[in-house]
């Protein structure tokens, strides 16, 4: 099975190669190659998933030596010993589940794209890129070590860059692409430092070896930059996640990334790539757990992100931007989940979110494709025109809002419950669950706002409304499949409420798998008492339902029933709206100040320094050497000093010319006088 994992990742890569080299010449510009490849990957991933379902556990590895360098065996320094990097496949339940989810989503989105991107320029390249992306994502999932994990991670970043900038003639798109790449690169670099530190501490980057080492407490006393090594690594990994999963404060790139084609947004910026950050946290959970402080920081980052992003979602009018902020917010949930120790819940939320968010994006894509605008203020009343799309949107909206019968209910409640339990255990950190719950309410509010503005009410733009139509089957089918997957049916029974074994919301197959995975990852046991957890679950369920309902009701009141005028609200919360509208001024801070003011002027200064000072001293410094000599020989000449700063080469000539003229006067008797004086001076010096 591990070998089929390899093929799962390899097939899309081959498709990429085909597409990029000869794609343009193939019929239909070769889109079928990519679709077939990812489809086959899905077909390969399914048996693995089924195997997991049937056995409840799965553990296989496959290793190759990638780099093997002899070192000095007896070296005291760890780094000077042998350097060996093995790469390979780690197939455990987490892998299997992710593989299944990603291939499924990818396949559907590939299918959707064939319709959505139809007729675009560089159509083949689009498929090449998303194939490469799929390959990288799948490669990341099956990686058994952090190095290949990182490689795939970066390749995804590349694809993200390429795809955001797909419309490369559009300045906003290319700006967004650079922003995305650079912002994530900041996180990636930290992540990479973490990997280096990990290698330094454990001598390996392999996950399983790392788990073992952490369990054994290897090098627990090593410090890096004054921090305990585990903490350093943990923080680095966290920063990697913050970059990739668009967490506060590096979240700014994701909304802009919506400049890319919508399927890309669905696949990369909602379902898979951004979730890779969370997957990273899950993969390295034992290490994070061993460095206590880091998890709490992670929880805070997640909670803050979840809340802040949700708030921005309220004021956005661009349908994709709303979804982008909601993605950030939901990712915040997952990160928070990992942070508070609700490891399984976060992972489950990752899965459910992938389905309903992909569905939402595809729906929005469908809408955009139909009305040719992204501004919700120009939509409205599309319910009738696009019934399937509407239905799917509705289902996913309900799912994301966390209502019963839908998948979001199951996972989000678990995350919130975990957070609440954490808060109850450590009352000092109670703000984390509070932010989480608040975000849940806000989420419900803005998602329904989206729903109402798009599909309900009267058409605001008659022309666009008139042209709107339902999409072809190839585009609708993925919507339907994803919407179906957003039902709680697949996870915890039809309602999502199931009280078995005194547990709320059990997802039997999933829990078993996660438990098995936890065992293999040597995660000892979750902390806190059983009782608190149980209590928290109950409370969380109630709170979240109340808040979600509140959000929906408020939204209905404002946007459907028009009982409250949104503009009035806007005025009422003027400063607040201002802040939200400017997204807390992060862009201004980063781009406007840090990059344009600080960095660029610093660069210009350095470049100027390079030209003037360094050159001035070291090349044109010949002039200075001559100056010294000259001041010994004769008297100082201000003109020459002035000129020295201008051009050293010319000055060298000028200076020496001056000196020579001073002595080589052409009068032989003067020469003799100079000679005799010099002779006398030499004698004087030596005397």
């Amino acid at each position: 099975m591990a070998q089929s994992c390899l093929w799962i990742a390899l097939l899309p890569f081959l498709a990429f190669l085909v597409q990029v080299s000869i794609g343009k010449k193939l019929p239909r510009h070769g889109d079928f190659v990519s679709v077939l490849a990812i489809g086959t990957s899905f077909a390969l991933a399914t048996p693995i998933f089924i195997n997991l379902l049937s056995t409840g556990n799965l553990y296989e590895t496959l290793q190759f030596v990638w780099i093997n360098l002899p070192g000095v065996p007896s070296a005291a320094l760890r780094g000077a010993q042998d350097f060996k990097v093995t790469i390979g496949v780690l197939l455990n339940p987490l892998t299997a589940i992710m593989l299944f989810m990603v291939t499924l989503c990818s396949t559907l989105i590939h299918l959707f794209s064939t319709g959505y991107m139809h007729g675009e320029e560089r159509y083949h390249l689009f498929f090449a890129y998303i194939s490469l992306f799929s390959a990288a994502m799948l490669g990341l999932i099956i990686s058994d070590n952090l190095l290949t994990f990182f490689i795939c991670w970066e390749l995804m970043g590349l694809c993200s860059y390429l795809l955001i900038g797909f419309y490369y003639k559009k300045p906003s798109a290319i700006n967004a692409s650079i922003k995305a790449f650079m912002t994530t690169r900041v996180g990636d670099t930290c992540f990479f430092m973490g990997i280096c530190a990990l290698y330094y501490v454990f001598g390996t980057t392999n996950f399983m070896d790392m788990y073992g080492a952490v369990k054994a407490g290897v090098a627990a006393d090593v410090t890096i930059l004054g921090l305990p090594a585990y903490t350093f690594i943990g923080l680095c990994i966290m920063l990697g996640t913050i970059g990739k999963s668009a967490q506060f404060p590096l979240h700014i790139w994701l909304p802009d990334a919506m400049e890319g084609p919508t399927p890309v947004s669905a696949l990369i910026h909602a379902a898979t790539m951004v979730a890779a950050g969370v997957f990273l946290l899950i993969r390295t959970y034992p290490l994070l757990y061993a460095s206590h402080g880091v998890l709490t920081v992670i929880a805070y980052v997640g909670a803050i992100t979840a809340f802040l992003a949700a708030l921005i979602g309220i004021v956005q009018n661009d349908i994709k931007k709303v979804l982008a902020y909601s993605t950030i917010s939901q990712l915040g949930y997952m990160v928070m989940g990992v942070g508070v120790g609700a490891f399984g819940a976060a992972f489950l939320h990752l899965l459910t979110h992938a389905c309903f968010k992909a569905c939402l994006f595809l729906c929005s894509g469908s809408v955009i494709h139909s009305v040719h605008t992204q501004d919700m203020r120009e939509m409205g009343g599309l319910r009738t025109k696009m019934p399937w799309t509407f239905l799917c949107t509705l289902i996913s909206t309900l799912a994301i809002s966390g209502l019963p019968f839908f998948s979001g209910f199951v996972s989000k409640d678990r995350v919130l419950a975990g957070a609440l339990a954490f808060g109850m255990e450590h009352p000092a950190h109670m703000i984390i669950p509070i932010l989480g719950f608040a975000a849940a309410g806000v989420t419900a509010f803005y998602m329904f706002r989206l729903l109402y503005m798009t599909f309900f009410g009267a058409a605001r733009d008659e022309h666009k409304h008139h042209h709107a139509h339902e999409q072809p089957l190839i585009m609708v089918l993925p919507l339907v499949v994803l919407a179906t997957l957003s039902l709680s049916l697949w996870y915890a029974g039809p309602t999502g409420l199931d009280f078995v074994d005194n547990k709320i919301l059990p997802v039997t197959w999933f829990d078993h798998s996660v438990e098995a995975a936890q065992t293999s990852m040597s995660i000892v046991a979750h902390h806190g008492s059983e009782e608190i957890h149980h209590k928290a679950h109950g409370l969380a369920l109630i709170f979240s339902l109340i808040l979600a309902a509140g959000g929906i009701l408020l939204s209905t009141a404002i946007y459907l029933k028009k009982m409250i005028n949104p503009d009035k609200l806007k005025r009422m919360f003027g400063p607040m709206h201002h802040i939200l509208w400017h997204k807390y001024f992060f862009d201004e801070l980063y781009v406007g100040f840090l990059i344009q003011k600080v960095l660029l002027s610093w660069n210009r200064m350095l470049a100027a320094f390079d030209n003037r000072v360094v050159d001035g001293i070291f090349v044109d410094g010949w002039a200075k050497v001559t100056m010294v000599v000259k001041s010994v020989v004769g008297k100082f000449d201000e003109v020459v000093v002035d000129r020295m700063a201008v051009d050293g080469a010319g000055d060298l000539v000028a200076v020496s010319g001056w000196a020579v003229r001073r002595f080589q006067t052409g009068r032989v008797q003067q020469y003799l006088i100079f000679s005799l004086i010099a002779l006398g001076m030499v004698y004087w010096v030596l005397r």
């Binding site: 006088i673 005799l676 004086i677 006398g680």
Partner: protein
């Protein structure tokens, strides 16, 4: 040496130095050249007292009879034929005099300071050497130990002659 002899010698020395001063500083080169002639004669007298009889003659013949006449001839030639002024005007004397004085100071210090194995006048070899006529000795030396320099200087004179003639000869 009697006191009279000493006074003659001393007079010759004083004359030499005075004429050398004139030769150096007199603005008129013609007077300078004539003073130089007297200087040469003074030096020749000193040679005699130092026991260099042949050299004194050579000095008179070569310097006085040759070099100085040559110089005077050159001066006359250039003056009378081309009506040029002989006076040096606007000579810058400060640096040369300082250098010369410094040099003289150091040399005098060095020369007066030496404590070599000088022969006193009364020493036997000194007296013997002083009294021997030098012509024969010089002849022996020139054909003996100094044969090669003696021969080699002919080449020098030949080269100098060819060169001088080539340069001075009108077109």
């Amino acid at each position: 040496m009697t006191n009279g002899m000493k006074l003659v010698l001393f007079g010759a020395e004083v004359l030499t130095v005075l004429c050398a001063l004139i030769a150096t500083f007199h603005p008129n080169v013609l007077y300078g050249a004539i003073a130089l002639l007297i200087t040469f004669l003074g030096v020749a007298v000193m040679y005699v007292f130092a026991g260099a009889d042949f050299l004194a003659g050579a000095q008179v013949i070569v310097y006085v009879g040759g070099v100085t006449i040559l110089i005077l001839f050159a001066i006359m030639l250039t003056q009378w034929l081309y009506q040029m002024k002989l006076r040096d005007v606007g000579t810058k004397l400060l640096a040369p005099i300082l250098i010369g004085a410094g040099l003289f100071y150091v040399l005098a210090k060095a020369l007066l300071d030496i404590n070599p194995k000088f022969l006193s006048d009364n020493a036997e070899p000194a007296q013997k050497f002083l009294m021997t006529p030098k012509t024969a000795l010089l002849g022996e030396a020139l054909l003996g130990s100094y044969l090669l320099p003696f021969e080699a200087i002919t080449i020098l004179l030949l080269g100098a002659l060819v060169g001088a003639v080539w340069i001075a000869r009108p077109r």
